[in-house]
Amino acid sequence: MESAINHNNQTKSDYQKVRAIVRKYGANRDSLVSILQDMQSEYRYLPEDALIMVAKELNLQLIQVYGVATFFKAFSLKPRGEHVVHVCLGTACHVRGALAVLDEVKRRLGIEAGETTEDMRFSLETVNCLGACALGPILVVDGEYHGQMSPGKVKKALRKYK
């Protein structure tokens, strides 16, 4: 997986992967979302050059690809951090005080939801229900679940990754 920090140093030859992904799903319009998802996993974001390449391969206007890339929450046009912190804001978690947890995470990391820290270590995202409502409120960092969160437990939970 390419490091997001090396973005500026990537050459066009790195986008061989893009061609492979397009081949995997087929160069048709209806494969667009799947293609972008694999690209997002691969690069941790959607690089401009890669999107231009996808548009060419699928014979679509660039704005069509760009429109899809900006519509869906799964995609980001900016590199995501090393650790992605997800705070669940589903109704069950909300009712159990998830907003207070989110506020505390925002305070500790110094960023708003959807942003990445300056040092590229952390990105903060909100999610609308992870389906683990018995453990609400929940924090997920890199796939690891931290349940029954409260503002007081945030410090400890994040310390592990700092």
Binding site: F72, K73, H94, E104, G152
Partner: protein, 619 residues
Amino acid sequence: MRKLSSAVELEQWRDQILSQRRAEKPCISICGGTGCHAYRSEDVADALAEEIERQGLNGEVELKVTGCHGFCERGPLVAVYPQKIFYQRVTRDDVPEIVAGAIMKRKIINRLLYVDPVSGKKAKFEHEVPFYKKQQRLVFGNNGIIDPKSVEDYMAIAGYSALSKVLFEMQPEGVIEEIRKSGLRGRGGGGFPTAGKWEECRNAPSSDGIRYVICNADEGDPGAYMDRSLLEGNPHSVIEGMIIGAYAIGSHHGYVYVRHEYPLAVTNLSMALEQARAYGLLGEDILGSGFGFDIKISRGGGAFVCGESTALMASLEGMIGEPRPKHIHTVVSGLNGKPSNLNNVETWANVPLIINRGADWYSQIGTEGSKGTKVFSLVGKINNTGLVEVPMGITLREIIYDIGGGIPNGKKFKAVQTGGPSGGCIPESLIDLPVDFDRLTEVGSMMGSGGMIVMDEDTCMVDIARYFIKFLTEESCGKCVPCREGLDRMLDILTDITEGKGKEEDIELLEELGGVIKETSLCALGGTAPNPVLSTLRYFRDEYEAHVRENRCPAGVCKALITFSIDEDKCTGCGVCARECPQGAITGEKKKLHVIDQDRCIKCGLCRDNCKFEAILVS
């Protein structure tokens, strides 16, 4: 592994599978659903596997990692068969005893049993546990006894027998008739009679004969995770339902549109599809019947609006999830302009059940207008959080108290929210309401996909309304004015109210705005968006008025309207709160009463969380 090419071969294979299984063989079934996964059930599962190996019991005791068992509050959950002993809150340390106990039929580990908090009674078996007693787990129950990655397990529970019956003993019109007789209505939220949709799709003209059958697994309602658990735990049931539907409709192309946030569901479903293909249960010439049908998986990109049928189809076509007006139904012109039948995961899972047991049997369950069972995710301020499957017509009281175990910490029940962001809140006064499509709609809510969020006296209904509107403003596609701008301004007004800046006219303005957004929005997202606001206004108007007229939040939630203070009777002067306070707003000498500086306090609640003496008051 070879393709089966007749009904006889299917049954032969089934017999072969069953003959290799002993009903009395001990089996340890551990829940591998996401809820239990978050409780680290994987560790327990690994420990169980290791222990079975260590005790040399590899051929004697079977271990199954299954889908969600439903009682998420008490995970990790382990069931020991054949007795169906029910263990909850299992840890790694319990593993050796469980394995040893599995082969000794009378050995039950008492400390792992569920204890009823009211009666003190211990429940040995699943059916004795109050959470499960009133449920009727026709669709969901199989989750506990099959390994979702094993097609043989599915075969062992009569899997694909409905498909065989349909392909070789029934005509497509007959299948539609059977579904019509059963009274099955869509489980995704719309509640449309399923047979009617199938019939319209079948009869809609198609120049090249292409018709699509689609499964909506975009489960976007926050707090609802039934579809996920079904797809993860029993993917074949959904596949079988879709093939039967495709046969009835005359479709050969199917899609399952899975929400982006459900990777495990995609994995398990992909595996199941491959298995089905390998055995000739999917693909060309299914079971040698001449009928061909295959299914592709398509993943969502993180957009709630793509749960709406036209937006879903747009996304399938590779475009943004912008809904289209539905003057022409999607069953007539949908995906790629072809007749397309879209049904929810749970709806599809009900189909094999109806075919196997018959429409007459199915229609005995439920009420006049709503037949069968429904799976709900019972979450929020409730003791027994989890997924429950109940017959239609059961009352809310039974669900919340008998199954749900009531409200934690002795708090008072206030309302239950159903139908997600499209639904409404049902107050305590209506708690004896039978759960049924039409009854829920009558009181200003709706069945929706099955999310049931329980709220207590500490929940502010204005805050809840604001929460849903905020969610919807972030999910609105932005195409039409009433939804895009209207919901945004509704949010402004609700935010003002929760911050104590509400004006008297605001309440009526909310009603006016809500009415117009409902009537004029292009799609059902906007069309149902005002429901949470309108229903809370209907039943909890006094709370709105308290915020506006008295600058008071009766539930003690809205930050701008509450103050944190320290109870001088309880404060021991330990200083923990002062240390935790991020704003340095608490001062006091050691062992003396501490004080909160209101000007600095940001109401984060850290002090309350950390105080061991419950000395922090909120008013």
